[in-house]
């Protein structure tokens, strides 16, 4: 079994209204050096197979078809073997 840790990031060219709003909070806190706040998605799940290649293929499939929208998001992931 593998554990996947997926990070889904919105492309830099696409506005992130949440990040922008949160950064206004930073300004209100007096944290005036904070720039370019972006809020992305972090997703974890297990893949019930002992074959690492099969696990990678399944994670790619999951990311491309559902977890990320390839029009506006990129993803990266890591796999670690778990018992």
């Amino acid at each position: 079994m593998f554990k996947a840790k997926v990070l889904i990031k919105r492309r830099k060219t696409i506005l992130d209204p949440q990040g922008k709003a949160v950064e206004i909070g930073a300004k209100h806190l007096g944290l005036c050096n904070i720039k370019n706040t972006r809020i992305d998605k972090y997703i974890e799940f297990n893949i019930d197979t002992s074959d690492k290649k099969a696990a990678e293929d399944e994670v790619n499939d999951y990311c491309k078809k559902l977890l990320a929208n390839p029009i506006m998001e990129d993803y990266e992931f890591s796999l670690e073997e778990v018992k």
């Binding site: 696409i14 506005l15 209204p17 949440q18 709003a21 559902l66 977890l67 929208n69 029009i71 506006m72």
Partner: protein, 233 residues
């Protein structure tokens, strides 16, 4: 004249399905049925409506999970064969996720859920969804969404513009397209687009909420009227 049969898809979390049903059944006196998202038959519907709501709680991205409901395979086949599909609000978001229309929907620029009447300028009055709008400068129709900020890359926008696929834009009451009339930050004030073939329309505003004179506004009914009068003509 033969009237089209309407099928309204019900996803878990749809909440404008009954409003749409009411308008088609009670105002227009049409044959209309609900289609549960788990079924695979469209039951000979001539028009499929993906209604507004919060399918699957808007989890992950709006429309992202509904897009994989069993009925969507049939809706995609139907659309690809030229069947008429109207996506309203969450239905528009589902059409984008399903790839039946280009682009994506992101959070409103203001981060607020915006629920109010807006004015729409109809940029293309030649579609089967908009022919009856001819002669009317703007439509007054409500919006109610948190993620209606339409985005597409420059190439996609150029294709949409070149092929007259931008059907509705947010406008002022006099039809002028301004930043102040844009309620959510949508690129180029886009409120509704149609596919190249002209049989799939997605729009964020709710025509079903402005189709009964009891509510004090009926501009939305022109869209349903257009479908009724033009599908078989």
């Amino acid at each position: 004249m033969k009237s089209p049969k309407f099928g309204i898809v019900v996803f878990p979390g749809s909440n404008c399905d009954h409003d749409t049903y009411y308008v088609l059944k009670k105002i227009f006196d049409l044959d209309v049925i609900f289609l549960w998202h788990k079924q695979s038959s469209l039951e000979d519907s001539d028009v499929i409506i993906l209604p507004g709501g919060f399918s699957y709680g808007d989890y992950l991205r709006t429309g992202a999970i509904a897009r994989f409901s069993p009925i969507m395979n049939e809706v995609i086949n139907f659309a690809n064969k030229g069947g008429y599909v109207l996506g309203i609000c969450n239905g528009f978001q589902i059409l984008l996720e399903a790839g039946l229309l280009p682009g994506v929907m992101i959070r409103n620029e203001s981060l607020n859920f915006v629920c109010k009447d807006i004015y729409l300028k109809t940029e293309n009055k030649k579609t089967v969804f908009t022919k009856e709008i001819d002669g009317q400068n703007v439509l007054k129709v409500p919006i109610a969404h948190g993620e209606g900020n339409y985005f597409a890359d420059d190439n996609t926008l150029k294709t949409l513009e070149d092929n007259n696929q931008i059907v509705f834009r947010y406008s002022e009451g006099d039809g002028s397209i301004t930043n102040s009339a844009n309620p959510n930050g949508s690129v180029r004030n886009i409120a509704g687009i149609i596919n190249r073939a002209g049989n799939v329309l997605g729009m964020m505003p709710h025509p079903e909420r402005s189709s009964d004179s009891v509510l004090g506004k009926t501009d939305g009914s022109l869209i349903f009227k257009s479908l009724v009068n033009n599908i078989f003509n």
